[in-house]
Point group: C3
Chain length 459, copies 3
Amino acid sequence: MAEYSTNLRVKLPVVCIVLEVILIILFGVLVEYDEETGAKKWHHKHSNDSDMENGFYYRYPSFQDVHVMIFIGFGFLMTFLQRYGFSSVGFNFLIAAFSLQWATLMQGFFHGMHGGKIHVGVESMINADFCTGSVLISFGAVLGKTSPVQMLVMAIFEVALFAVNEFILLEVLHAKDAGGSMTIHTFGAYFGLVVTRVLYRPNLSQSQKRNCSVYNSDLFAMIGTLFLWMFWPSFNSAITHLGDDQHRTALNTYYSLASCTLATFAFSALVNHEGKLDMVHIQNAALAGGVAIGTAGEMMLTPFGSMIVGFLAGTISVLGYKYLTPILESKLKIQDTCGVHNLHGMPGVLGAIVGSIAAATASTSIYGNGLQDVFPEISDHFTQTNQAVMQIVSLAVTLGMALIGGLIVGFILKLPIYGAPPDTLCFEDSVYWELPGEEETQHELTVVKLDEESEKLNS
Amino acid sequence: MAEYSTNLRVKLPVVCIVLEVILIILFGVLVEYDEETGAKKWHHKHSNDSDMENGFYYRYPSFQDVHVMIFIGFGFLMTFLQRYGFSSVGFNFLIAAFSLQWATLMQGFFHGMHGGKIHVGVESMINADFCTGSVLISFGAVLGKTSPVQMLVMAIFEVALFAVNEFILLEVLHAKDAGGSMTIHTFGAYFGLVVTRVLYRPNLSQSQKRNCSVYNSDLFAMIGTLFLWMFWPSFNSAITHLGDDQHRTALNTYYSLASCTLATFAFSALVNHEGKLDMVHIQNAALAGGVAIGTAGEMMLTPFGSMIVGFLAGTISVLGYKYLTPILESKLKIQDTCGVHNLHGMPGVLGAIVGSIAAATASTSIYGNGLQDVFPEISDHFTQTNQAVMQIVSLAVTLGMALIGGLIVGFILKLPIYGAPPDTLCFEDSVYWELPGEEETQHELTVVKLDEESEKLNS
Amino acid sequence: MAEYSTNLRVKLPVVCIVLEVILIILFGVLVEYDEETGAKKWHHKHSNDSDMENGFYYRYPSFQDVHVMIFIGFGFLMTFLQRYGFSSVGFNFLIAAFSLQWATLMQGFFHGMHGGKIHVGVESMINADFCTGSVLISFGAVLGKTSPVQMLVMAIFEVALFAVNEFILLEVLHAKDAGGSMTIHTFGAYFGLVVTRVLYRPNLSQSQKRNCSVYNSDLFAMIGTLFLWMFWPSFNSAITHLGDDQHRTALNTYYSLASCTLATFAFSALVNHEGKLDMVHIQNAALAGGVAIGTAGEMMLTPFGSMIVGFLAGTISVLGYKYLTPILESKLKIQDTCGVHNLHGMPGVLGAIVGSIAAATASTSIYGNGLQDVFPEISDHFTQTNQAVMQIVSLAVTLGMALIGGLIVGFILKLPIYGAPPDTLCFEDSVYWELPGEEETQHELTVVKLDEESEKLNS
């Protein structure tokens, strides 16, 4: 039964090397520097006096914050499992490093071609990191139950589907979704949920004792949570129009998250019989305010509106973890390790609806000449209702793409060729990692001494 | 004795929800976008060509560094306690998320009203985070001995008092304090010390065994320390005048901190009988250089002057931890968990004095036309002596506000209604948190085996 | 045998205080604000309208990323050892705080004097952090086997030699090395390797049981790895020419690192009999792509070229850890704790070669008017071959300086006066740190109970 082996000595190197070689060849053929990164192109238009106008200075700090969210934020958020820290942060690293390259090609192919070439610069870097975020959300749904090879295969398909969906939403339907409530969060969450449904393991309870946290793993996870929370204003504003748009998006997100955090603490204590807080809620639900303001963040939502959105998001997220997740697992056979439905799924849908409502009320009396930046279609030929409808249609398209895509990809991933762990060894690093021995502590010394004494006594 | 219960199932949700609803209503009534975040306002004055002039690009990177200091810096710095990591990082998160919203209103009310409305943008975000920092300093003094409800109540009052004190210093007395040696550190530290004095627990020794660190908790705390240390140059320079002022402030802070670090290592080894370093000193005293340069950082202190200030700050801070803290506890009954007197109190006072001295020597021969930016009052109608005196008066006002405010708030917090932990359960996460089980390790397995063997032997 | 004592109560304070006092005096005599940080100088040339042109806004975000790499990146990367976390992150902190001050003077002396004064601002801050990075690389080679006093002495010499080497490469040979493949990585690695060779400990096996990681220490190390990985694009681009150069450098580094990560995972699985991944490889080799693109990052390497470089770097780095490090130790007596030869040494040399090749192909047909920015000498009077040769000569000079310098400094450090640990206590925090007691856990309670029972049984 070689195909059931978790030994990846051949599979992982082959997949990684083949993928990277293909990427390198495609980059060689298709990718070139854009107007701001190519020496000749930039200097053709700019003197050295205008070097400071390069978009690098206006986008790169946002990019770096997003980058931290992808690698530290998602990576450490998932280290909450007691014996899956290496895999969480390590496979997150691998999947992200692959996805950002592949996303550059896919996104470039669908909406970044210039004369047959894909142009790259800081905006393509941000967009690629965004797409990667979506893949990592899906990874959260299947965490602990899959092999890295399986996740790379998932990423191949999911990145492509993400790019198609993004193209339909932004280019065909002219929807607005700067922070990705739909394109990133809703898509990633429901895609991952369907995949984990298809990969349903009836005997997962055999690994149940490892499907929980320990004290230090929860603290490591809080590193992820806080970097996601702090940098979410940068995430939502990273690719909005420059100027007031970017500034306003960061501000709205900041208020949404702050409000969401109070709701999270409130409902976490409320749903516990002893009034005790649950780390799972704090680690995850407090972030829902960033997800739910993703679409409408750049709009004139006001701090007041942002805080309401955040409060609602935190509330539904905690309630989801408490009451919905167990039902999803027992009734619908959806084993959602990180609860992405509560953090990304429902708040993403909420975000899409908020965006639609905000679009329905947009007008020059509120936006002045800024309407052109936020809603070019309304400024041009759409009515507000048109835009609002397009936002909702976009949500429907996203859900459809995620469900159908997840279904197909789920069945592809079900093939017994990827070295996935058996039911008894889920949530366990030692399947794929050389683990270090345990710390030499007083405990051990005592235990060893006791052991010897016991042996003596026994004999 | 329901009021002594630590069960927060009713109290915490009620307080959080009521506070957030009040905040949302007040934001709805009072807050609006400023000239740089409102679409109509911005586009009324600017074409799209000038989007890059938006203050977002000149302040937001500083804001993000400050934000990291507040949530990761303060949060993880306090995880040094062995069984209080969830509470340290979690309550820090809750208190900060509340305080930054409340501070926006209070600071806006005292010095940001425009036609009856509070204007918000990146500067209000930075100022709100600053005020939050002050509350978190006070939190450090009472860490482990209070409930989250108590801390939220403290934050309500402290934020308001902070805003009043800040108003008096900056608007009435025309003092300079860009990095907040007085407004943030001195105020937060002495306010917290008085609160902890009023909340004195004579039987705290019953929890003494938990009032210390373990190996990994000290490493988690170093994450907090280092992010505070690295981003302190951004903190002190975040709201100075643009241009050379901001640049100089970051530079001065960088040198002060570097020098402080060497002093910290030197005196930490010196005060130990075996010459061994103490993690408490490294985690805290190495930061005193950032506190002590808070007021004078934007002045022409020179790198030379900055390094002297840093060296002094590190020295008094280590000596404070070693010799003063035990005396404060035994003689003055001040139980200062994190030693905020050594990190924020004394270095804050030192910073105020340095600021006064630097003001006394300011002149156009040193500042040129830049005098207007740093000392508009001297440039206008003050003598240097006027300014220097106002700086010292500001320190006195700050100390007075902190002491009286802390006294009143301390007695309010002494009411037995907030679910504070009993003396036997201080510094203990399990009071307020659902704790995970322990890691399944070889230890346990061995122990269990031994247990069984022993039982057999016993029988 | 007082000189063999590891008690640092006298030595460490004396060295730290004397060094800092000397630094303060030298800064007082030699250092002054530059055109962008001095109030009078800046305002002499600029009105307040042009404050936004201050270099602070174009360099400071890069500086902060570099700063995080130095203190969190290097500091936590080295916490992988089970009982050396305090020392790794603590001594890294001390050495870096000293080195950045000393480097400011040394680099200023060799290439920053203006009328007898060293000018400081954000560029000197970045350069000083760069030089510090080189010292920390050498620290990685001798990690666990040296005292902090020894490391400060090493830093004194290494910083000076770094500045000389940098001066020769950049000013005399007109080499390009923006990201420091040669000046920082090659120099730091080979310097450290020679030092650790001279300090060879034949009986180090007595501490072998502590020369490895535990589960949580590997997770702490991943914090270091990821911050290094994420911010490496900022590192390589921090001091390039503004505009397209900086933008392109960040982009190239981003692709090199992504490609390197896939190579690392591939070869890590391949070289293990069971196909299991090794955390040492993931923590280190995945970063080699940043090192190897240090010299050529600013050149028109194309994303395609960058990915090839990254892939090669990851490959040689993993293979180095697996096959070369054991040989270096057994045959050449080089005990390289962190494997800096694999992460900085070989990839640094690769980077130098790539830089030379890229220089050999530079022309106006590729760079347009941008050639002046990247290769002023080619644009002026060099042929491409001249430049390419100068790049290789620079590598040779760097290797020579590192080997000879390391040899001399190694013998200085061999004097038995620095309080280095004995062979039996290497990789052990308790030599230099007050360690906290162990966590009060169920384990202990059980163990204690068992202990008592065993005693009873024994009696």
